[in-house]
């Protein structure tokens, strides 16, 4: 009887989840304010330093092992907060790109596709880097440096967005 009740509950939760997702669909539009907040909250230079392997090598050489592990843990935790912010920004980038992809203008649609593709890759890299940093915080002796490529991917995604804005304005003026 308990198992049956559990099945009934799962089936109802599934039905409600689909209804919720259908209702949320209209609200999941690209949000410029959220994207701006995400960008403002990022200090990319500070993040770059936090995941710089040379800086880590310098600290490793200068500090006693226990001190180095403590500092590495703290740096990993701070870097993780940046990665989360980057991940949130990438989601907004992807939504904007995905919306622009549906533009009737082929040039804007192509630009939107590039942005969405780049943002998806950024999000994938952010998820990977997040997992790496969590491992790094738990085991400071591990050597993990994948977070650095995240900065390059972020630069590419923002560059594409600037290009897209230039294109949109040019097409707006022409229209």
């Amino acid at each position: 009887m308990t198992m049956t009740l559990l099945f009934v509950l799962i089936a109802f939760v599934l039905l409600l989840s689909f209804a919720y997702l259908a209702m949320r669909r209209g609200r999941d539009l690209p949000n410029v304010d959220q994207a701006l907040t995400a960008i403002r909250s990022l200090d990319i230079e500070a993040f770059r330093n936090l995941v710089d392997p040379e800086e880590e090598a310098f600290l490793r050489a200068r500090l006693p092992v226990a001190e180095f592990k403590k500092i590495k843990r703290e740096r990993a935790r701070v870097a993780l907060a940046y990665v989360r912010a980057l991940s949130r920004a990438s989601l907004q980038f992807a939504r904007l790109g995905d919306a622009a992809r549906r533009s009737p203008d082929p040039a804007i649609a192509a630009s939107g596709k590039q942005i969405a593709d780049s943002a998806i890759y950024l999000r994938l890299r952010a998820l990977d880097a997040g997992a790496q940093l969590m491992l790094s915080a738990a085991f400071p002796s591990l050597d993990l440096h994948r977070a650095r490529s995240l900065v390059q991917q972020y630069d590419r995604a923002t560059y594409l967005l600037i290009q897209h804005n230039v294109l949109t304005r040019a097409h707006g003026r022409a229209a």
Partner: protein
């Protein structure tokens, strides 16, 4: 059987299939059959299947007739296969423009399918039992397992695409949402069947699968008639983009 019940039972059996005829016609006139060939075939197959079942029902004078049972079995197997094809079609439609995501989405889908298969087998094992008609019990267990897998896969596709900020085009969402309603309602129906119900409750519960199918057909029709909404234009204006562009340039 009460008069109103008989009317509702027949209405829910016949009406969705009558409405379903409109779906492939609209798809053909809007040239959507080229983008969704499996769903297009499914709507035609379901209509033809209904005509065969209805013919067998009339010839066998009732749902218990031997001919009806075999026609039901054969059409149900085809319908299950086509529904898996439609889920694959939805998958392709969402991810085909994003080659970087296809690999990880395919691998994740395989894992999720494996886990759902285990859940379906466990559920079948838990709820299996001998019935008066072993063939129909087998079909029921198979349909329940398929509903678990299909509902799970659809939920996974909804969540996975949300995780990467990808929105579904209106009609794709309509197809997925329609099947999601149907599969979830089937699960609710079968799980409630496992409980000790009164004869009256059982009769009411019999209306759930056909009722949910009716809702699904209305969802497909609704999304087809509504068409694609223009998304981008209303969501960001030029001054906002200029401000944004400035922020991005400063961050570079």
């Amino acid at each position: 059987m009460a008069h109103w019940y008989k009317f509702v039972l027949y209405y829910l059996w016949i009406a969705p299939h009558v409405l379903l005829v409109v779906v492939p016609v609209l798809m053909y006139t809007r040239r959507l059959h080229k983008n969704f060939p499996v769903f297009f075939v499914y709507t035609l197959y379901e209509t033809l299947g209904f005509l065969l079942r209805f013919g067998a029902f009339a010839a066998g004078r009732g749902l218990g007739g031997g001919l009806y049972r075999y026609v039901f079995l054969v059409t149900a197997v085809g319908s299950i296969a086509l529904r898996f094809g439609i889920i694959h079609e939805i998958f392709n439609n969402i991810f085909h423009d994003y080659p970087r995501l296809v690999g990880i989405a395919s691998a994740s889908t395989r894992w999720v399918t494996g886990l759902l298969l285990v859940a379906a087998v466990l559920t079948a094992w838990y709820s299996s039992g001998a019935g008066a008609d072993n063939l129909m019990v087998g079909v029921s267990v198979l349909s329940r397992s398929v509903a678990i897998i299909q509902a799970g896969l659809l939920l996974f596709l909804f969540l996975f695409s949300r995780m990467f900020g990808l929105s579904w085009r209106s009609f794709v969402f309509g197809i997925g949402f329609g099947f999601a309603i149907f599969s979830s309602a089937q699960l609710v129906n079968w799980t409630l069947e496992l409980t000790a119900l009164t004869e009256h409750s059982k009769q009411l519960l019999d209306l759930l699968p056909t009722g949910s199918y009716h809702v699904s057909v209305l969802v497909w029709l609704g999304y087809l008639l509504a068409g694609e909404k223009p998304v981008g234009a209303a969501t960001y204006t030029a001054p906002e983009m200029d401000q944004w562009s400035g922020e991005l340039e400063r961050s570079q």
